[in-house]
């Protein structure tokens, strides 16, 4: 592990007009974006932190999540954390952020010539004002909750991706997000896909650090504005250090016949809470939502999902699978909502949790709210240990119990991993699963 230097107390940010203006100036942002941030600051100030009274926050252990006093560095020339393994293989473009700064930026020239954009969001706001302005915070509202408002006011790790009409980007586009342990981070990813375009975006976040680092907060907003007949895949691999409290809000709006795959793979963080909301208002649109995680120690891994169907003939399929060891806990609260106009819709949810130790726990809650009649909806949720029949079978083939259990767990997670985009990513995730399962537990009964 890289030793994390002590963070400068002066980095501590208090959300204020001054902080927003200083940040906007340092990122060389146009006035409209600064004003947008200031208005988000006002929203932040008008909201309270989510409380346990709200259904989607009832099971989130907010004790220990730092809700003020964040160290939000903005440093030039920082290295990416070692934990950020290359994931994309042969990529078509790349944007790296570390400790609040853009550290690398590249895009295939042919694609750039065809109008594809892969830029820091601040730069895009400057150079493509009309395009960015027309979409920023239109899919994920600033006031979704207090975290999104905070992010909208003070993000420093922004990405803008634009896919011109009808264009297919074959190779993946990458977004790396790194930070030092103890540092907090706020980010924003905005993808605008014009009709008929196709692309895959892989976002990977990591930090080096140990369980003794100071607690930190990250929040990242993802917005996917997907026009008719687009095919977009976004996979996010989360590998924050064990003192990070990671929040993600990802929203997508799907046009007619649009097709989305949104995958989140979670290994790191003390607490990971992801709110994923898909607006399937385009008729015939389809979304695959995938979740894959391995929880160890006292990690809390939570997914809140919403599959909102208002378009005719839409379909969506959620699959979340995770393995939990030590005292790790998982929550899945997922809603399939079909409005009366969402006829001929199919909505599915599957949540499966493997509990590998006595202290592990899981609360899967798949909710259906159906107002249309011509629908096919189903959900399934399960919690249990490794199936002894499977282990018995492998043992009968001469495999000792421990490797047999490992094989069953990997096979269980493999079902989701196989649906991730690209062979290179699938292999990288398989290695990360193995490494996570192999990590010795830190301390019996350790509190987060």
């Amino acid at each position: 592990m890289v030793h994390a230097p002590a963070l400068d107390q002066r980095l501590t940010i208090v959300p204020s007009r001054d902080a927003v203006e200083t940040l906007a100036a340092s990122l060389d942002e146009p006035a409209w974006l600064r004003d947008h941030r200031l208005s988000a600051l006002a929203t932040f100030e008008s909201l309270s932190w989510p409380s346990a009274e709200e259904e989607e926050w009832r099971r989130t252990p907010m004790d220990g999540v730092p809700l003020e006093g964040w160290a939000l560095p903005h440093e030039e020339d920082t290295d990416l954390p070692a934990a950020l393994a290359p994931l994309g293989g042969d990529d078509a473009g790349l944007l790296s952020h570390s400790n609040g700064s853009t550290t690398e930026q590249a895009l295939d020239e042919a694609l750039a010539a065809q109008g594809v954009l892969l830029l820091p969001l601040s730069q895009a706001a400057r150079e493509y004002e009309a395009l960015v302005r027309a979409h920023l915070n239109t899919v994920t509202p600033v006031g979704y909750d207090r975290f999104t408002a905070l992010s909208a006011a003070l993000w420093s790790q922004g990405l803008f991706c634009y896919l011109p009409r009808g264009l297919t980007v074959e190779r993946p586009l990458l977004h790396y997000l790194g930070k030092r342990a103890g540092a907090s981070a706020l980010g924003h990813t905005l993808v605008v896909a014009e009709a008929g375009s196709t692309a895959t975006l892989i976002e990977s976040c990591a930090s080096d650090g140990t369980s003794t680092s100071a607690p930190s907060l990250t929040h990242h907003t993802i917005e996917l504005a997907l026009d008719a007949a687009t095919r977009v895949q976004l996979a996010r691999i989360q590998h924050w250090d064990p003192t990070t409290n990671a929040f993600l809000t990802a929203c997508a709006r799907l046009g007619r016949d649009a097709n989305l795959l949104l995958a989140s793979v979670d290994f790191g963080a003390r607490l990971s809470k992801e709110r994923l909301e898909i607006d399937l208002s385009g008729s015939g649109s389809h979304a695959d939502l995938l979740g894959l995680f391995v929880g160890r120690d006292a990690q809390h891994i939570e997914h809140n999902t919403r599959q909102n169907h208002s378009g005719v003939g839409g379909s969506s399929d959620l699959l979340i699978k995770g393995a939990l060891d030590d005292q790790a806990a998982a929550v899945q609260y997922g809603v399939v909502k079909i409005l009366a106009e969402g006829q001929k819709t199919a909505g599915f949810q599957t949540m499966r949790n493997l509990l590998l130790s006595e202290g592990a726990s899981a609360d899967p809650i798949p909710v259906l709210e159906i107002e249309a009649d011509d629908v096919q909806c189903s959900h399934a949720a399960a919690v249990g240990p490794v199936d002894p029949d499977h282990i018995f079978y492998l043992q009968s083939r001469g495999i000792p119990p421990e490797p047999a259990e490992r094989m069953v767990v990997q096979g269980f997670l493999e079902i989701v991993a196989q649906r991730l985009p690209g062979q290179h990513l699938r292999e990288a995730v398989a290695h990360l699963i193995e490494a996570k399962l192999d990590t010795p537990r830190t301390r019996e009964g350790t509190e987060p």
């Binding site: 726990s361 909806c377 949720a381 240990p385």
Partner: protein, 475 residues
């Protein structure tokens, strides 16, 4: 002050006759407390029943809890209930708790004749019958051979007089007065209900039955049922509920507590067909001990809003809990029903099967909880919920909560929501059935897994009720 309370005279006002059980009897009540809820009303109920002091104190404490607790903000819309516009106690007749059917007042007898209750008893289909009319039980009888074996089947009021120690030992231990707002209300003003005690090893082989009828307008019915099955005992209790249709809403808020001791087998069947202006807010819970089997069979066809989640707390190894639930929501109805299974001990098992139908703008919600405590290794739970949507005006929700704090378990939940399949309809219609006949056939097949668990005459009844509902909606 009790003296301040004077019975008033009931003024019936029938608005609609279409509902089959919509008739009501025009005879004046013997005692009817004025509307509203306060300590005087509670004291008066306790006075009228000549209760021991501990019960009066429990009622008064529960009233405080009721007043302190906020209305639930989840589930159905209970905001329109006006607690000041309800009669909390109506004694239909001075003749109470009769053992001889001939002694039951004529107008009440007519009601039950129309419902076919004495029929089944005469035919020997039942081991015992209780009939509650408004606040109190008007008729009670049990087969002599069961009585000889020591089986107690009384109105809870009578049981408090005859078996005070037994009641006191168990009353409110399964559902304490402050469990929830409506349990608190029931504890404050409860009246009637059944008390059943089955001695060790005694098997009551055919059902005990109770029939609940709300007859007065603006009345609340708050029966309280307590069933204790001693080790190895077996009993099946069946209850049916009806009410006339008035222009204003009524409230039914029962509490049912069940204790199934080691190796006991208790089955509790409800066919709820309240008229569509009754708020049906009921707390039902059972504790099942070592190797005991507790089954709730819950048919919800009537009411304006039902909120009811029968629970089984699996307290000791080998206990098994089961809920079979069928809900039918038509126009203006919301059936928010479900089940709770709490696995508190190793090697306990549970099954929840829920079937719901929404038609004509009705709304069905399945709301359930499976909880497994840490240390309850080797538990199994299987939840299966299916909802059928019969038109695009209706709504179906599924809220299956799970809290699993133990890894050596096998917990599964599956649910589906779908409409009546066009292929199936087409197939049946190609065989000469009309669309409504074909739809009914599909619906019957859909609820069949629950129907087949019912005693025969109830299966017939439920089928008939489903068809009646369908006729109103699609006929």
């Amino acid at each position: 002050m009790p003296a301040a309370i004077k019975p008033d005279v009931q003024k019936p006002d029938i608005k609609k006759e279409a509902y089959e059980y919509g008739f009501h009897d025009k005879a004046a009540a013997a005692v009817k407390l004025p509307k509203g809820l306060n300590p005087d009303v509670v004291n008066t109920i306790s006075d009228l029943k000549s209760e021991p002091a501990w019960m009066r104190e429990l009622r008064l404490r529960a009233l405080q809890y009721f007043e302190q607790r906020p209305m639930p903000e989840w589930g159905g819309d209970v905001g329109a209930i006006d607690f000041n516009d309800i009669h909390y106690f109506v004694r239909a007749s001075d003749e109470r708790d009769e053992e001889n059917w001939d002694d039951v007042p004529e107008y009440i007898k007519n009601t039950y004749d129309k419902l076919g209750i004495p029929e089944a008893e005469k035919k020997g289909l039942l081991a015992g019958v209780g009939a509650q009319y408004d606040s109190e039980v008007v008729y009670h009888n049990i087969r002599k051979d069961l009585e000889a074996k020591g089986v107690v089947f009384l109105s809870t009021d009578q049981a408090l007089q005859d078996h005070e120690d037994l009641v006191r030992e168990h009353f409110s231990t399964i559902i304490p007065p402050n469990d929830n707002k409506f349990a608190a209300l029931n504890t404050a003003v409860w009246s009637g209900g059944s008390f059943i005690w089955v001695p060790e090893g005694v098997k009551v082989d055919i059902p005990l039955q109770a029939y609940f009828r709300i007859n007065s307008e603006d009345m609340g019915q708050f029966e309280r049922t307590l069933i204790i099955a001693e080790p190895g005992a077996e009993v099946h209790y069946v209850e049916g509920c009806t009410a006339p249709i008035y222009s204003s809403d009524s409230l039914h808020s029962a509490v049912v507590e069940i204790i199934a001791k080691k190796g006991a087998n208790v089955r509790y069947t409800t066919i709820q067909n309240w008229s569509n202006n009754v708020y049906n807010l009921v707390t039902k819970r059972a504790a099942a001990y070592e190797g005991a089997v507790m089954t709730w069979i819950d048919g919800n066809l009537g009411s304006k809003l039902t909120m009811k989640y029968p629970a089984v707390y699996l307290m000791e190894p080998g206990a098994h809990g089961e809920v079979l639930s069928v809900a039918f929501a038509g126009q203006g109805q919301h059936q928010d029903a479900g089940a709770k299974m709490v696995h508190g001990a190793p090697h306990t098992s549970s099954i929840i099967t829920s079937k719901s139908l929404a038609i004509d703008g009705g709304r069905t919600s399945y709301r359930g909880l499976v909880k497994v405590y840490e240390g309850a290794a080797g538990c199994r739970s299987n939840v299966r919920c299916d909802a059928l949507m019969l038109d695009d005006q209706s709504r179906s929700d599924t809220y299956p909560y799970m809290e699993i704090d133990e890894n050596r378990v096998d917990i599964g939940h599956e649910a589906t929501v779908s409409k009546v399949g066009e292929e199936k309809l087409f197939y049946l219609m190609s065989r000469g059935l009309t669309e409504s006949e074909a739809t009914k056939m599909i619906v019957n097949g859909f609820v069949e897994p629950i129907i087949k668990e019912l005693p025969m005459e109830y299966a017939v009844e439920l089928n008939r009720l489903v068809e009646l509902q369908m006729d109103g909606a699609i006929g």
